[in-house]
Symmetry: C2
Subunit: 240 residues, 2 copies
DNA sequence: CTCTTTATAGTCGTAGTGACTATTAGTCGA
DNA sequence: TCGACTAATAGTCACTACGACTATAAAGAG
């Protein structure tokens, strides 16, 4: 309780934010990693992040770090989601660090120019994001799970898409994040039946790789929730 | 990023946990509140909580505080869920406090004997949990929303029930948390059709208030997820 | 052309569910 | 002891959503 100020010696903690910045490149989920130039975990890869400044909230700090690490001028429209806070005593060998973790979703993936203090920053395929420093493997896995779960009942998937996209591209986003194939006509029916999920760009059509019939072009709609949800073909429901 | 140790003057923060301890009493959602005996917000009600000790995680601290505030001997089996972390610079007028918020669900509600430093602790109906200290109104609302959402796709509702309960009681839990009435036969069908949600206690039956046909008694099952989900009759799906 | 590729349209059967009605098993009050 | 009342449980019916399909349209490649 908060009346304990004078009673407890409230130990000071260092507070950081850690970011799982996700994007899709060439049909595969990628995550932004930085190479550590100092001990501990020197030479290991880690999630970008940094200390909370005295005058900012965790969300503000996360957005600032996101801008620094990606080099993007405008990160105001990007989806940033607080995951949870990691506070196990031993998670940083040097000192007591409590870290607020965020997931960020980017549509396109400009190569990061290590603007921050990172020795090197790079997009790494999610599957090859080997053992990371600290508990960042856990944070990254939690981010993936959260994003996958939110795809079921929100319109979050469009955050991975450029401003204009085809339904095939949107389906690829789902398939890549969930790691499962989806039936194309059924996916299409579901998306179009959900009001506000996507809206057609009149008259626009685009070829999806040079071949086949050009696909209609859509924009993200105004809806944020998905009712009823678009459930992933999960472990459940199978003949156990 | 975490290599910034020597560069940034990483300001120390006080880290606390705040608990939204929820229970059902007489068919209404109640929350455990403590009366503040010190400035600021002296005399106001607040969520229980306290500072993180140097050697414990936020989860450990939350469980410790929960035991202290409720006076319960065994809080190991209780559902404790990290909500999110609140870190706005001005949320505590005295100092920079970052708070990790949790929601806790209790089946029965023993009157708390203010074991901690709380001047007074009391169960307060959710609706009458007037303006709270700090940003605790927001935390409490977030807890309610999170629990309501989790009811849709998990078996969490049994956390509000005693070890043995009737389907009518379980339905009341849903109705109270969601604030909507549910059709009894349909609710029953749905719960029984979900394997592992509840399991029958053989031969047991109980009257639900002295009247009517005695109801069969159930225990919480082993399942944790609900597939397909039990969606609340929401704002969506209505003729807009 | 025709073959391949991709988008789009539509069909069919079934699980899930909302809105009901009917029946059963108790208590309470006259 | 006999209804009236109450609550639990059983069952019906129609409609929606969805998985698994087949069919057609529109492009490029050869």
């Amino acid at each position: 309780m908060l009346q304990g100020y004078d009673k407890y010696a409230h130990e000071p903690f260092a507070v950081t934010v850690d970011l799982a910045v996700l994007t899709l490149r060439e049909g595969a989920l990628h995550v932004l990693l930085v190479e550590r130039g100092q001990e501990p975990y020197r030479g290991h890869w880690a999630l970008p992040g940094g200390f909370l400044h005295p005058d900012e909230s965790a969300e503000t700090a996360a957005r600032r770090e996101l801008a620094e690490e990606t080099g993007l001028a405008d990160v105001s429209g990007l989806h940033l989601e607080q995951l949870r806070t990691y506070s196990e005593p031993g998670r940083d060998p040097r000192m007591r660090v409590v870290s607020v973790a965020f997931a960020a979703l980017l549509p396109d993936a400009p190569e990061p120019h290590g603007g921050g203090d990172a020795a090197e920053a790079r997009w790494v395929p999610y599957d090859k994001a080997g053992p990371l420093a600290f508990d960042h493997d856990r944070i990254l896995a939690d981010a993936h799970e959260r994003v996958g779960a939110k795809f079921e009942y929100t319109c979050l998937a469009t955050a991975f898409c450029p401003p204009e996209f085809t339904l095939g591209e949107l389906q690829q986003v789902y398939e890549t994040v969930w790691g499962t194939a989806l039936d194309r006509p059924n996916f299409r029916r579901k998306v179009l039946a959900t009001p506000g999920f996507v809206e057609a760009v009149p008259g626009a059509a685009r070829l999806t790789g040079g071949r086949g019939k050009p696909a209609a072009v859509y924009r993200a709609g105004t809806a944020t929730a998905l009712h009823p949800p678009l459930l992933r073909p999960s472990r459940e429901g199978r003949p156990a």
